[in-house]
Structures are given as C-alpha cells and as structure tokens.
Amino acid sequence: MGVLSSFKSKKMTSALEKKLSLDLSGKEPSDWYCLDDKKVLRVRITNVHGSANLSTGAAKDLRNSLKLDEEGLKRLYNCPMKGKDYENKIRSMGYVQ
C-alpha cells in the first residue's frame, strides 16, 4: 500500500507518455500501447479524484493494465526502466503475437 499510494499523477502520466509513447490526455485518459503495429495493451489512469497522488485503486488498476508488479511500476515511474526495457518485458511475456 505504501508504494502504490505514493505516485504523483502528473509524474506518472508524463513518464508513461514519454516512455511508452502514449497519449493520456483528457478526462478519462486511456490509450493503446502498440508494438509491431498491433494493439497490445490498453493503458488507463482511473484517478477518480483528480488528486495530486494516484489513489490506491487507480495505482493498482494501472499496474494491472501495464502488466507490471509493484516494483516494476516503481521502476517505470522513476528512471531505471526505460521504454525499451518495458517493450522487451512485454515481448518476453508473450503479449505480442
């Protein structure tokens, strides 16, 4: 709970847009993460409050939609996991057919 509830909404949105080339603008931000010209994952941020921090539920949902564990989301949120690293991870998990 501690980690999941400590993500800043803006920083998370910015990280996802830059690293995964997503467009997460709008009131109900969601976009398809595409690889090899295929829609692979649907990424969404369901921050019901529009608050500075992502709620626990929103963070959990985001984590599920990205197919990451808590540590992976933390690494994507911070610098260690680059876009290419994430792509390799998703490919290795077999989500791109």
């Binding site: 109900e28 692979v40 369901t46 019901v48 539920g57 949902d61 939609s65």
Partner: protein, 207 residues
C-alpha cells in the same frame, strides 16, 4: 519458545558450589582461628575473597550455615538469571508479534472490501446478450468496478458511479476493437474482442 540456561558465570566469580569443598574441615578450623580474609592464603585466587561469609563466623556450625546460605543464594541467583532471560525472550517475542500485527493491519487497510454483482444493461448502443459479471472493490475513498475478462475498469466515489463508468469503458473498448482486424490485435485485446462479441450485441452507432 526455547528457554536456555542462565548465562555463564563471570570469570571473576567463583563457582559457589566449589567453595564448600574448598573449605575442608581442617581449613575451616584454620580459617576460624585466623578469622580474616588472609586465611585464604596467597595461592588462592584473590576473587574468592569476595565471598567472605566466614569472616564474622563465630563457630564451625555458623560457618557451614553461612556456606549453605551462599549456596542457596547462588541457586536463587541462577533462578533469577533464568527468569530474567525468559522475560527478555518473552519481551522480544512480544515485540515481534507487535510488529507482525502492525504489518497485517497495514495490509488489511490497503485491501478493499470485495463483492460481485452483474450488469444487465450497457446503453442504447449495446445490448447485453447475457449478464456480465462485475467485481466491485470498495476502498476507503473510492470504488472500482471491473469486468475482469476484458480488463474493463470503472472508478467512482460510490458504487453506482463506478458501475456507470464501467459501462462507458465497456462501450469504449467494444467500439475500439470492433472495427480492428484480428491481425492488428495482440493476444489480450484479441481475447477481449472475442468475449465482447459473445456477450454484447450492437444495436446503435458509437456516436
């Protein structure tokens, strides 16, 4: 819980049980005659002098009584040491329990109350062929409604708001996938499309 023996005697402390053997009848008589600490002689470890119960003894009987008392005191000391060690162990285990309970409580606070329901209707554009199972998760400050099979999620401040948003999300996903050919979809979206086509029927346009 493992209870160990009391701590080892300090090196500077004599084993009190040996003291009695050390004081033989002849030695005792000599000691009583001299009546002072020096009766132990230089060859004895000087620290034995600290157990000088015989110093003020007036007779052999009284001296032996004193030695017995020292033995009893030693036993009591060992018991107190054992008890002290046990109390330390119990305190340590209680501390670990307290930390464990605290961790569990934090975990429980982060977990939502979960229940299940069904959707019977989406909107004027989509008709449900059969009810959709929905998982409702109630957190402290929000409610999340999910149709897990297609990873559709709706969030809200209350259950009804979350369900309304889930319906919007299902509709959105349906129309995002409906017109896309299967070879343009990854493993997951392809599965979602198949599920949606089995449970939802289009009765109006997406606009």
């Amino acid at each position: 819980m493992q209870i160990r023996s009391s701590k080892e005697p300090e090196r500077s402390e004599p084993d009190l049980r040996t003291l009695k053997g050390l004081v033989s009848a002849a030695e005792l008589a000599e000691m009583l005659r001299k009546g002072r600490r020096t009766s132990f002689g230089k060859w004895r470890p000087p620290e034995y002098g600290r157990w000088g119960v015989l110093y003020a003894a007036a007779s052999e009987r009284e001296a032996l009584g004193g030695l017995k008392f020292v033995d009893e005191l030693a036993d009591v000391k060992k018991q107190v040491d054992d008890l002290s060690y046990q109390v330390e162990s119990v305190v340590s285990e209680l501390k670990q329990c307290k930390e464990g309970i605290s961790t569990i409580l934090n975990e429980l606070r982060g977990r939502p109350i979960t229940k299940q329901t069904e959707l019977f209707e989406i909107d004027e554009t989509l008709e449900l062929i059969r009810p959709i199972p929905v998982v409702i998760e109630e957190y402290d400050d929000e409610v999340i409604a999910t149709f897990p099979e297609i990873e559709a999620v709706g969030a809200g401040l209350c259950e009804s708001e979350a369900i309304i948003n889930l319906k919007k999300e299902i509709r959105k996903i349906f129309f995002e996938l409906e017109g896309v050919s299967d070879n343009k979809l990854g493993r997951l979206p392809l599965g979602w499309k198949r599920v949606l086509l089995k449970v939802v029927k289009k009765i109006g346009s997406s606009q």
